[in-house]
């Protein structure tokens, strides 16, 4: 890795520009957090308060008079369940597609690739029907099941599994290990980083999903935090502080999770995309 040539004017300018850009990328988050401590009167003043000089926790008090805790637990449940199921199904399928030679393999893989490009929203009306048929409407599983069905995870796991050395699998075979045991004790440790990556990826994406949740969940007690924030925008005037409190509640936990698992995350994105 080559080092920066120190104090070249181009480098200094770029650095300054980047710092400015980074600050502007941080601004919405700053505005959410500070906004959540502003009273409505401060929030709608023509001269913005850069910092809430008279901070109020009213917005949070009001937020928790809504079933905000329930929204949060619903979100955690949906995200966790999706994550676990995605990991289970996708790792098995991805490994199989990468390392097994079987009839129909090319077809299955093509189908998965093709449907990955299609918009989820296209399936909207039929999906509503299917969920009703399964008696799952207005139920968190109506969000979880389609999330698990989405084949991105399979694709990612296949990319990862390509790197499993064939020799290792074959020596396991020679040792007489069963298929499932091979998978659990040989394959899983090798693709462990992929579990981290896909897991955190699915968790964050499900947490922040809006569309499926919008269609599938309805009653106030069953909403997720994304939907909850959206409903805080009432028919009669927006309470900005309240909305920002909701936004803070929805985003700060996931941001912390992201920063904590950052390494897995970047690893996942890169390994899935650049080279399996």
């Amino acid at each position: 890795m080559n080092k920066l040539k120190k104090s070249s004017p181009y480098n200094i300018l770029t650095m300054l520009a980047l710092i400015l850009l980074a600050l502007s990328f941080l601004f919405p988050l700053y505005w959410i957090i500070t906004g959540s401590f502003k009273s409505q009167m401060v929030a709608v003043s023509a001269t913005p308060a850069w910092f809430p000089l008279e901070p109020t926790v009213d917005n949070y008090i009001r937020l928790f008079k809504n079933p905000a805790v329930k929204w949060l637990t619903n979100t955690v449940f949906v995200s966790l369940a999706s994550m676990v199921l995605v990991l289970l199904t996708a790792s098995l399928a991805g490994y199989t597609l990468a390392k097994k030679r079987f009839y129909g393999r090319a077809f299955v893989f093509a189908l998965i690739i093709a449907s990955m490009a299609l918009p989820k929203q296209v399936v909207l009306v039929p999906l509503v029907r299917i969920m009703d048929f399964l008696k799952l409407s207005d139920n968190p599983w109506a969000v979880i099941l389609p999330t698990v069905g989405w084949p991105f995870g399979i694709f990612l796991m296949k990319q990862f599994s390509e790197s499993i050395p064939n020799e290792v699998l074959e020596s396991a075979r020679i040792d007489g290990a069963g298929e499932l045991r091979t998978f659990v004790s040989i394959v899983t440790p090798i693709i462990k980083p992929a579990f981290g990556a896909l897991g955190i990826f699915t968790f964050i994406n499900t947490w922040n999903d809006y569309f499926l949740q919008l269609i599938m969940l309805r009653s106030r007690a069953n909403l997720t935090i994304s939907l909850g924030i959206a409903t805080l925008q009432s028919e009669y005037a927006t309470n900005y502080g309240l909305q920002m409190a909701g936004a803070a509640l929805g985003s700060i936990p996931i941001i912390l999770i992201f920063i904590f698992f950052q390494k897995y995350f970047t690893q996942g994105i890169t390994m899935g995309a650049v080279k399996g």
Partner: protein, 308 residues
């Protein structure tokens, strides 16, 4: 319990059959979800797009209309506008996101690892923050009277009167593009940083020995080396842009005068506010075909460049 010798792998019919059974057993859980909640609804969507299927009319022989919805769509100015808007979003967003993230990455991949990681996190934050949270705060920032944007521009002397950003058919789509941009660059930056880090330093050294300038090194070597990444980024950004829905739904609901209406949003409106399910499904099919063609093209190019 396979006991076959490694060198026979794939060569024997019997073994292949055995592998097929095991393979499908392994694939079964994933395929169940995939077929039930992706393929089946897609098929149903396609099927019902040939019917005058509304809240009142069920799908039945009486309501079969063949290709009428498709023909109607191509004569529907609102739909054509939505297609144009969608394509416009792609044309602006994809190059902007790609070039910006390449520029940022080509700088930060060389700096101190800790600092690099800080930048990467910051540019990724809007993605993690979540669409709804991001949109509600931007909506406030863009607000005609209470927004920071107008305040800054006014105090900076750039504008004299408050501008209704979301209420202008000129500006509203740019507001959407701006938010899209901030939420789309995170992933490409991560990708580029990794790809640039993987460029073989000996290539660069060799070029420098031959007297190449920094610019030449960048375009001749690095750009060529990260080409697969660029293509991948363009594909995912294109698909994401095509699917843009929440921004429109939460920010402008397609207005003013349809200037921010996208195919995705129109589909949703048609189904859920105008109760015209069959027509909406036809839009979905057309959108799917549009994305399908584009992705196929890009995948084709990619498969030449990248070996999966």
């Amino acid at each position: 319990m396979t006991t076959a010798k490694p060198n026979q792998r794939g060569s024997s019919h019997n073994l292949m059959r055995k592998e097929t059974i095991v393979s499908y057993l392994f694939l079964l859980p994933a395929l169940l979800f995939f077929i039930g909640f992706v393929l089946l609804p897609m098929g149903l969507g396609l099927y019902t797009s040939f019917f005058n299927y509304t809240m009142k009319n069920p799908v039945s022989a009486d309501t079969f209309v063949g290709l009428r919805h498709y023909i109607d769509l191509f004569g529907n100015p609102a739909f054509l506008q939505a297609v144009r808007n969608t394509v416009f979003l792609v044309i602006v967003t994809v190059p902007a996101v790609t070039l910006f993230s390449l520029w940022v990455s080509s700088f930060i991949y060389r700096i101190h690892a800790g600092l690099r990681s800080v930048f990467r996190i910051i540019f990724y934050l809007p993605v993690v923050t979540g669409t709804v949270a991001v949109v509600v705060v931007w909506k406030w920032i863009f607000h005609e009277y209470y927004g920071v944007l107008n305040y800054l521009l006014k105090s900076g002397g750039v504008i004299e009167k408050n501008i209704s950003w979301l209420g202008s058919s000129t500006w509203a789509i740019w507001c959407i593009i701006l938010i899209m941009f901030t939420t789309y660059v995170g992933q490409p930056i991560v990708l580029y940083v990794a790809a640039l880090g993987n460029v073989d330093p000996s290539l660069i050294e060799a070029a420098k020995v031959d007297g190449a300038t920094d610019m030449q090194v960048f375009w001749k070597i690095k750009w060529a080396q990260v080409m697969p990444t660029t293509l991948y980024i363009m594909v995912i950004t294109t698909i994401n842009t095509f699917q843009c829905f929440s921004l429109v739904q939460l920010l402008t609901r397609g207005g003013p005068s349809g200037s921010t209406n996208t195919v995705m949003y129109m589909l949703y409106e048609t189904a859920f506010n105008l109760y015209d399910y069959g027509y909406a499904n036809a839009m979905g099919v057309i959108l799917a075909i549009m994305i399908g063609i584009l992705s196929a093209m890009q995948f084709k190019v990619m498969s030449k460049e990248v070996s999966y």
